[in-house]
Symmetry: C2
Subunit: 211 residues, 2 copies
DNA sequence: GACGGATTCAAACGGCCGTTTTATACATCC
DNA sequence: GGATGTATAAAACGGCCGTTTGAATCCGTC
């Protein structure tokens, strides 16, 4: 594995766990067993390295969305919601065991840091990683509610569903201590996904019926 | 206003917006028009100053919980949920206009930073600021579902409700750009609170009915 | 074997960090 | 008025930061 690849791998781990600002170039180079100057040589600087990490994150979430979260239009909306939530919640699972390519948790960690302390790349991340999911979910909910995706009720339902998924997928040190039986087992994770689907379907139908 | 008070006020603003690590003592002292050594003189160091900020946050959230979020036991649970959600969601409102004492948004900002990058004070914050709300909400949901607060279904419903409230109360730079019509007007905020209550009540009842 | 571009390396640069030192003002009490 | 304790001030400390420098090393090619 080349020095460039080792740097990128170490940078993915460090940046996604602690955010751009809190990670030093020296930390990454130590992890990658590379000289401090290597980052500037191969990536033109700390921000250039981070840009490559962000590109990898966007590519990872894009391929995961298309393969695991999104379903074809002919799939019934309830089943599409189930698939969306299941895939979302399970990104938190195996946060530390499955191989690099398969686990998506680091992407959510990175986005959580960006949402708290944005870098110049935040708008690009929002458009490429977040918006596609929100648009898909909006269309899904609009179909469930039999109304236009622009309806404010749809937006509020999307927020309700997305917030629940994010609680399980995003990093949150409080969650791991405030709730008993955390981190969740595979069965607990499946139960959580089933709960979100049932809870949200009832909520969506209630909101759709109102007015 | 004494130098100590000016430092504390500046520290509250800085720490809650950017977190403990990202704020420098020099930044705070510049805001407070004080010498760099003043923090060490009055608070024994950066962490000592932060400890005072955390104490103020805990006191603020405690008094807000008892006066605005929590209701007496004789209030019907549905009404208690409505009050809880309304107060929670409205902490985000007037994030930049109402006077210091009355707005709670800074406390949620500080807790969001603690949940991402904990300081040694994180356990204390979790126990004093977060757990009382979760316990209150658990009892409330358990009463709605007519089952024990220790039931895992109660915990999952608490998570669902809390996640939705947190989306509106916690800082999130993506939210402000990803969703149209943000930040919310007073009417939009009230509609959001009503939505969360209706959505969640339907969800809770659905989950309670299952099995 | 000598050349030349690509890569690695140790060292140093200026800058910001939290903290400490040292000195100076100022109020209070004997 | 001199001593005492509190508060503020400027300067400096060692340490880590991102980046740059310039020399050393590697390696395919002539």
């Amino acid at each position: 594995m080349t020095t460039r690849d080792r740097l990128l791998k170490a940078a993915i781990a460090r940046f996604s766990e602690h955010g751009y600002r809190m990670v030093s170039v020296r930390d990454i180079c130590a992890d990658a067993r590379a000289n401090v100057a290597a980052v500037n040589y191969h990536f033109g600087g700390k921000l250039g390295l981070y840009r490559e990490v962000v590109n990898a994150a966007i590519e990872a979430i894009r391929s995961a969305s298309e393969s695991a979260l999104f379903a074809a239009d002919d799939v019934p909306p309830v089943e599409r919601l189930r698939q969306y939530v299941n895939a979302y919640v399970h990104t938190i699972a195996a946060r530390e065991k499955t191989p690099e390519r398969e686990r998506l948790a680091w992407v959510h960690d990175l986005m959580a840091h960006e949402s708290m302390e944005p870098t110049p790349l935040a708008p690009w991340i929002a458009e490429q990683a977040l918006m596609p999911r929100l648009r898909y979910l909006s269309a899904l909910v609009a179909e469930l509610m039999r109304c236009k995706p622009s309806d404010p009720r749809v937006t509020r339902c999307v927020i309700s569903i997305q917030s629940q998924c994010l609680f399980y997928a995003a990093p949150n040190k409080f969650r791991d201590t405030a709730f008993p039986g955390w981190p969740l087992s595979a069965a607990g994770l499946a139960a959580a996904a089933d709960h979100i689907v049932a809870f949200s379907l009832a909520g969506v139908r209630r909101v759709a019926r109102a007015r």
